[in-house]
């Protein structure tokens, strides 16, 4: 059953900036959908429009789920910093008319290890703890639809894992989740992904469908001299090439694999060149290059 549907949703700011262009999106019961894109892609504007906080300049939104069963965790911490953790939870419970919310509050705070801080002012929490509290507040009314705008930004890796464990548990209970993230590793938690850049959806599908669509082969090169090696690799005409730390990932058009790997391994400074499974990041870069008219958002 469809809970939320957006058709040709657009937002153009008065200065002419097109933050979101023709966004089509449908969220059904039990969905776990990720809106993936870098900073400035238009994700937050899209969320704000979906939640009715911003009026679209064009398009249509149809939300069949009642406000009582919808929760939204914005990107920026939006709880009252001068209320304690427990008071923020209690306020949310009262705004949603929840009866006897005490046990549920304790359950949620405990699951994200916030129970010990229930009397601390929300403004005095660390960035990660604030995000956890925002999630607890969002989950308190037992929503059927949960929208999370970059929920793990600023959260440490351990807390991030706890965060996602809780989200998976919530999802298993039947809650539809739409989340946004700039992190490609996190994006892979989504069952369905929308890749967004410059306000437009570049492509959408599952990780497997993206891998199938990605032409060529991806090679991972390990080297302590990344810059020099990256330059030398240009001679092999990569379709995409990017590196981080000691790793370079490059995509090449279909060609004899053995010769390619031998050639790359022979480059000065290269420790190892191996065939790699395409990641979401590889496909995102490919989709970006394919996009005809990138729009800044």
């Amino acid at each position: 059953m469809s809970l939320l549907r957006a058709e040709a949703l657009s937002c153009t700011y008065p200065n002419g900036t097109r933050a979101v262009v023709d966004l089509d999106l449908e969220l059904n019961e039990g969905d776990l959908v990720g809106l993936i894109g870098p900073d400035g892609a238009g994700k937050t504007t899209a969320f704000r429009m979906l939640m009715g906080l911003k009026t679209p300049t064009a398009g249509r939104i149809e939300r069949t789920v009642e406000p009582e069963f919808t929760a939204y965790v914005p990107q920026a911490f939006a709880l009252s910093p001068d209320l304690t953790v427990a008071e923020n939870m209690l306020l949310q419970a009262r705004l949603y008319d929840l009866n006897a919310p005490g046990p549920r509050i304790t359950e949620l705070l405990t699951s994200l290890e916030l129970d010990a801080f229930r009397d601390r002012l929300a403004g005095a929490l660390s960035g990660g703890m604030k995000q956890k509290l925002a999630l607890c507040v969002g989950l308190l009314p037992n929503p059927r639809l949960l929208l999370l705008d970059e929920p793990t930004t600023g959260v440490d890796p351990v807390s991030r894992r706890e965060f996602w464990e809780l989200l998976h548990q919530v999802h298993d209970e039947g809650v539809a989740i739409l989340f946004s993230t700039p992190y490609m590793d996190e994006a892979e938690y989504a069952h369905h992904m929308l890749l967004m850049h410059g306000g437009r959806i570049l492509d959408q599908g599952t990780l497997d469908s993206f891998r199938e669509k990605l032409p060529g082969r991806v090679v991972k090169v390990i080297t302590p001299q990344r810059r020099q090696v990256q330059e030398a690799m240009q001679a092999f005409h990569p379709l995409d090439l990017f590196g981080e730390g000691e790793i370079i990932r490059a995509r090449f058009a279909e060609q004899p694999l053995e010769a390619l790997l031998d050639g790359l391994s022979a480059l000065p400074g290269v420790e190892k060149a191996v065939l790699s499974e395409a990641t979401l990041e590889d496909f995102f870069l490919h989709a970006l290059v394919e996009a005809e008219e990138p729009v800044h958002g």
Binding site: R48, M51, T70, Y72, P74, A78, S80, L95, Y96
Partner: protein, 374 residues
């Protein structure tokens, strides 16, 4: 070192140039201040005056003429009874009444001392003091002149003083400063609370982004709005109660009129001031801007509201602004109920003006809220 200082100065100017509202306030507030301060005038002229002339004589008319010649008194007309004097003063239609008894002229002609009475509305002590001093001066001058006339014509070897002018300050007979200052101060303080608390509490939420979190809950816009303004109304009433209790208990300012009427009238005023606060919140982007704008509002509220400086002494444009300011009307309501002890029959006109202001300011505020939310 100078390069770094130059860089910091450059940064400050860049920021200032981009903060247009602060720049506007920096230029506009001093202009407003100097203009208002420049025109502030304690020399009150043209006080609305009525005459109860039971003497119906040339002598009484001469006295009235001498009073109006000072330009401090504008005679609006005559009344026929003492009750009408009370009525016009209660209603605030006149601030001064001159009363000549039937034997005024006869006593003057007969060489004895004639009495006349000047009644002054002393709920505004500044106005009353001046009116009384000028009236006293006129009585003295006129009496002395008549006495010399009598001496000159040899009617009396030991002439009596011709005019015994009695001056009666009503509503604040001892001309106590607290009676005059404190009711007005209640209006000023309550207005500051309403404007500053309402505007800053909304802007604070906007600044922190916390309004979004509430707006995505099942809370309806009206519920959100009432949730914001009810605490401010409660605070304003609590503040007003404390101030009135202190005025009465510590400074012995009596409350002559109906307390329920006072509290009912205050609701109109509080709602009007909340409208200003909400309007500011839709324009201001930060709490600092909201404070600056609130401060800009307080200047005309304090100086053009009849609180300390009488509006009668101001140039006409300032008097018009003063009449448009809700504080002016609430101060008049407060003084009318607290000092004069009058009721709805007198204050209804101020309530009506406040009601018109409420409709106007809330129309603007709601339009601003709609624009801001879209």
């Amino acid at each position: 070192m100078w390069n770094r200082i130059r860089a910091l100065v450059w940064k400050e100017f860049l920021q200032l140039r981009r903060d247009r509202l602060t720049l506007f306030m920096m230029l506009f507030i001093p202009l407003l201040q100097i203009t208002i301060y420049g025109f502030l005038n304690n020399d009150v002229k043209h006080l609305p005056t009525i005459v109860l002339d039971e003497s119906r004589s040339q002598e009484s008319r001469d006295f009235v003429q001498a009073m109006t010649a000072t330009q401090y008194f504008d005679v609006l007309g005559e009344v026929a009874t003492e009750a009408q004097i009370r009525q016009t003063l209660d209603q605030g239609k006149s601030q001064v009444a001159i009363w000549f008894p039937p034997d005024y002229a006869r006593k003057l002609r007969g060489g004895s001392t004639a009495q006349a009475l000047v009644i002054v509305d002393a709920s505004n002590a500044t106005v009353a003091n001046q009116a009384m001093a000028v009236a006293f001066g006129v009585g003295q001058t006129r009496g002395t002149a008549l006495m010399f006339d009598r001496m000159g014509y040899g009617q009396a070897t030991r002439p009596q003083h011709a005019i015994d002018l009695r001056i009666r300050p009503w509503y604040n007979p001892n001309l106590r400063t607290p009676n005059f200052i404190l009711p007005g101060l209640v209006a000023i303080i309550v207005s500051m609370t309403c404007v500053m608390v309402a505007s800053s509490s909304i802007v604070k939420e906007k600044e922190r982004g916390t309004l979004d979190q509430v707006m995505v809950t099942p809370v309806r816009p009206l519920e959100l709005f009432l949730g914001k303004v009810i605490p401010v109304i409660g605070m304003a009433y609590a503040q007003m109660t404390v101030l009135l209790l202190l005025s009465w208990g510590v400074f012995h300012v009596p409350i002559a009129g109906s307390i329920p009427l006072l509290y009912g009238s205050a609701f109109f005023f509080i709602v009007a001031m909340l409208g200003i606060g909400v309007r500011i919140s839709t324009v201001a982007q930060s709490q600092a801007q909201a404070s600056q704008m609130s401060f800009m509002m307080f200047l005309p509220m304090v100086f053009l509201s009849d609180y300390i400086f009488p509006l009668n002494g101001m140039p006409i444009p300032f008097r018009i602004i003063g009449e448009l300011v809700p504080v002016t009307h609430f101060i008049r309501i407060l003084r009318a109920i607290v000092l004069r002890g009058v009721g709805l029959e007198v204050i209804w006109i101020h309530l009506l003006k406040l009601a018109v202001f409420i409709v106007l300011i809330w129309s603007i505020a709601v339009k601003g809220m709609r624009r801001a939310s879209s």
